[in-house]
């Protein structure tokens, strides 16, 4: 494995000091709440999975929460975002309730898709959310089209989506980025560099060290941020979102982070060297942010625990709701293939 070289050489090195931010205390505490919510929802899902309550696989973002939270937090209310299945935090920031997530994962009739699709595969344009698509890369052209719509409608919303290190190898990533660059659409693509694509390390995925290098093929701006520093992620995302909004065209934001679990709950990640987990555990984005808040006198231990307590209380109720929800009626399988009729 060492033959693959160190992970993220030349990466923005992760220090304990977090990036400068203009965010006032209350908003930093809100960020903290979202980070905890993201992790605790996933902890609940892991328990439900072990109890056999989750239908199908479970995909988590442990250790990467700062990426979803920091980027989504930088979006404006009218912006439109398409997360991948690891980007639970994005949906939470956009106002998705935990019960929507629990019912989806448990295939209940009360879920946003009514049981038709799984896990985070749902969207809601009222909240500026577009559903993930399993085929990696496909969301890049689709979100380029969302940006194109903003341009053609002369409106100023921005499109944002995510891609993994592995996903940047797809033809759709290339076609989407290049089309977006040529058409000059407001699109921010967050390239989540977490070291692995399922069992495949980045060194077996590409011959470059930084995903940001992909941008030079399109003549678009790129940045690299410490993906385990929620403030660094937020500030970088905000800058690029506003640049896109101002007409600078598509932007590529690489965030360096690490997948702290297997590809999915069933995967023990035996192929990942233990040292990597240890090395990255020390950089846990939530622990780091907590230390930042405490050291900076922005919050007391009690205040943080109170936040966590409220989140847990909420989650108890949300899990109960999902568990009490019925499975969908079979006939529902037959509905909704076509959108009703044509416009007059």
């Amino acid at each position: 494995m060492s033959s693959l070289g160190p992970l993220h050489p030349g990466a923005a090195e992760h220090t304990d000091r977090l990036a400068k931010t203009s965010l006032p205390r209350e908003r930093q505490l809100e960020l903290y709440r979202f980070l905890k919510l993201n992790r605790l929802v996933e902890d609940r899902l892991t328990n439900l999975y072990r109890q056999g309550k989750v239908v199908g696989g479970l995909y988590g973002s442990r250790g990467q929460e700062a990426v979803s939270i920091g980027t989504a937090y930088a979006l404006g209310p009218d912006d439109v975002v398409a997360p991948l299945i690891r980007n639970l935090g994005v949906m939470l920031v956009r106002g998705v309730s935990p019960r929507e997530v629990f019912t989806q994962y448990m295939a209940r009739g009360t879920s946003p898709t009514g049981g038709k699709d799984c896990n985070l595969h749902f969207g809601d344009l009222k909240r500026g959310l577009i559903s993930p698509i399993s085929m990696l890369g496909a969301l890049v052209p689709v979100m380029a089209g969302v940006g194109l719509a903003a341009k053609l409608q002369h409106r100023d919303y921005v499109a944002m989506t995510y891609i993994g290190d592995g996903g940047t190898s797809t033809g759709d990533f290339h076609e989407g980025m290049n089309v977006a660059a040529v058409l000059g659409v407001p699109l921010v693509v967050v390239a989540e560099h977490n070291g692995y694509a399922y069992s495949t390390p980045t060194a077996r995925q590409m011959k470059i060290q930084d995903l940001a290098q992909r941008a030079s093929a399109y003549g678009i701006p790129a940045r690299i941020a410490d993906g385990n520093d929620v403030l660094a992620v937020y500030e970088a995302a905000r800058t690029m979102i506003e640049a896109a909004r101002a007409g600078a065209g598509p932007q590529l934001l690489e965030v360096k982070t690490f997948r702290m679990k297997g590809h999915a709950e069933h995967d023990d990640a035996a192929y990942v060297p233990k040292e990597l987990f240890e090395q990255w555990k020390a950089k846990d984005p939530i622990d780091r942010f907590e230390r930042h808040l405490l050291a900076g006198g922005l919050a007391t231990q009690d205040e943080l625990e109170a936040i966590t307590g409220r989140v847990n209380a909420e989650l108890d109720a949300e899990v109960d709701f999902a568990l009490a929800s019925p499975m969908p009626p079979p006939e529902r399988a037959r509905e909704g293939v076509y959108a009703e009729g044509a416009q007059a």
């Binding site: 344009l125 052209p141 076609e175 989407g176």
Partner: protein, 331 residues
């Protein structure tokens, strides 16, 4: 540019339909390769850039999956993209986007994707394997899509307008052999009238003895054969499907029950063909009224060959159809 200007070609009719819908609905825009300044490989979009400007007639890089994906995203945001494939064969490069992303979207999470995917299809132009395609069977299997394949000037105009107005992803195939070979007229007030609805077949020629179910360029082969057989007193009924998906099963079953003898005539390899789906419906839904086997007259099970003698052998024609008709009538 307006309707009712006397005789126009099949190609003109499609351009007119695009024009009228773009006039009627500011959310309609065109996207594809070389459709702007150049007016498209077949000049179908000629003049539209000048009329509607570069924000509604958009030239793209060579990236079928990329610009179909972009069309999908823009459709979700309230626009009505009309995508041109320079040749319909290149739709293969956007297969995943169309079948998986667009086709399943409304079912999976309730978001509609109103979009038209159009382009020149079909053979008898010596285009060989990569410029003669008829991909209907590749997409008929995909839930959530609609497929339109007109065979007359009137339908080309009426159906492209309905396709644009439809709230679902619609594949609109244009047989390039018909582009400049057939002519027709559109009433002057056509633009103000409700366009021809999707999903309805058209009885192209009534008959008593045998039904030929077909569409697009093969419609004209069927009509030619019917004309020749009429001289012998054999009355062929010709059903023009026009919309292939959703299929007008009612019309298909009706003609099968009426004549009791059915030939499905299509321009595609027979194995795995769209014709197979039609034949299967007939065999299941009209069985008790059949007096003869359900026949298919299709192409050879080969890629489209290039040299004219080979392509003639590959393609159906009136002689081949008539021969099969005689066999079935003997039954």
């Amino acid at each position: 540019m307006s309707g009712g200007t006397g005789e126009i070609t099949f190609l003109d009719a499609i351009r007119q339909g695009l024009w009228d819908e773009m006039k009627a609905d500011p959310t309609v825009y065109l996207i594809g390769e070389d459709i702007g300044v150049y007016g498209g490989a077949f000049k179908l979009t000629a003049g539209l850039l000048d009329e509607f400007g570069p924000e509604r007639v958009i030239d793209t890089p060579i990236a079928e999956s990329g610009f179909v994906g972009a069309a999908i995203g823009s459709a979700m945001m309230g626009l009505r993209p009309v995508v041109e494939f320079q040749f319909i064969d290149f739709i293969a490069n956007a297969f995943n986007m169309i079948v998986n992303c667009a086709g399943t979207n409304h079912y999976r999470w309730g978001q509609k994707v109103p979009m038209v995917l159009r382009g020149p299809s079909g053979g008898r132009v010596s285009g060989s394997a990569f410029h003669s395609g008829n991909p209907e069977a590749y997409f008929n299997r995909a839930p959530g899509l609609k497929i339109v394949y007109p065979g007359t000037v009137e339908d080309a105009y009426g159906l492209i307008r309905s396709a644009i107005r439809d709230d679902n992803p619609v594949l609109f195939f244009e047989h390039k052999y018909l582009y400049r070979r057939i002519k027709g007229t559109i009433p002057a007030d056509a633009a103000d009238r409700a366009p021809i609805p999707l999903g309805k077949a058209r009885l192209a020629r009534p008959g008593r003895d045998l039904s030929v179910i077909t569409y697009a360029a093969m419609l004209h082969v069927a009509l030619e054969a019917a004309e020749r057989l009429a001289a012998e007193g054999i009355e062929i009924e010709v059903l023009d499907l026009r919309t292939l998906k959703p299929l007008d099963e009612e019309a298909v079953v009706a003609t099968a029950r009426k004549t009791g003898r059915v030939i499905v005539l299509t321009e595609e390899p027979q194995t795995g063909s769209f014709a197979g789906e039609v034949a299967a419906r007939v065999a299941e839904k009209a069985f008790w009224h059949l007096d003869a086997p359900v026949a298919r007259v299709c192409c050879l099970d080969t890629p489209v060959p290039y040299s004219p003698p080979l392509e003639d052998d590959y393609l159906p024609n009136a002689d081949k159809l008539i021969a099969r008709v005689r066999e079935l009538l003997r039954a």
